[in-house]
Symmetry: C2
Subunit: 215 residues, 2 copies
Amino acid sequence: MSDTILPASLRAPRSPIQFYFDFSSPYSYIASEWIEAVAARHGRTVQWHAVLLGVLFQTAELKPAVDYPLKRDYVLRDFERSAHFAGLPYRQPIVFPIATHQAARVFWYLNEQDPSKAVAWARAALRAYFTRGALLKDPEVLKALATDLGLDAQAVEAAWQDERWKLRLKQVNEAAVAAGVFGAPFFIVDGEPFWGNDRQVQIERWLNSGPFKRI
Amino acid sequence: MSDTILPASLRAPRSPIQFYFDFSSPYSYIASEWIEAVAARHGRTVQWHAVLLGVLFQTAELKPAVDYPLKRDYVLRDFERSAHFAGLPYRQPIVFPIATHQAARVFWYLNEQDPSKAVAWARAALRAYFTRGALLKDPEVLKALATDLGLDAQAVEAAWQDERWKLRLKQVNEAAVAAGVFGAPFFIVDGEPFWGNDRQVQIERWLNSGPFKRI
């Protein structure tokens, strides 16, 4: 059954792709650059969720890869290589990882106004951190980023200090854990979980033709 | 400079791909099924290294993914999905993970006679464990597997009990750690490390055209 010859009303409804990311996650940055295009090619939208990897790791009893001997050297190399493989610029931030709760609260504050504003914030912040080391935990950096995006920097600062967005981020993290999310980037497509930027090819095939055939 | 129009003597020498695997690693099983074909397409050979993931994990202070809450459910799902994605049969072994030092010692014993015999052993054992749950820690299972491959089952049993192959496996693990290997499957291509079955596409592009262009 091809959608192209069916009227919109007869097409199967397509749920949005759930995309979980952390502002300090290199692989989230890479995924943030392809997820919208991949979704669009398959008639999907994307629901972005700014989460705190630290909270997810705590729940899942995990640690960041850079905290492990041997693995650290490898992943630092792989961050950059994987970005270049995806055709993206990358510069490993000297201060890494960083606290991202302020950037994430701003995301949820903007999301309530207009999800596309929140996505623009996410993409700009991820690019700023991973291509020019803009410290997303620094209030001045966050305010400058807001101004660049045409946002009210004072309102943005007020948002990350507001109990309302602190609570919202807490709830979002709890919901992510409840959904089985333990890392970032993390994707849920029609209930199927995919973890990691390197699941892109599986996600594309899944969107194309559904569950892989059992052999 | 195209190799196809150059006499063999003028072609750049191509080092073998170093491939590290563990007999109890689902992603190693998947990789073991494509690594030879990928190498051959790029005029390379593969040097297989049976290692003990437990030893590597200990050095790198890591634990198996299935030991973590949340991650466990995901990886069990991902093992099977990734195998099907690669077009391979897969059945999650009920007893998992298992001790693989005996199978690994047999690998090194055979490797000394003829590396292709060792590779045949590795592929048969990985398939047996991950498609029909053949317990590779069980002496009877290992001997039956040896017989199926036309090997002398008594000699194979003697090999895994032999101090010589115990020591060899110990040295191989130490060498792997020294080379920065902290997981399996792990690949080293001309000095460049790649970790995980999901690095297949990066490995292929690397073999094709070398380091990815910096943006």
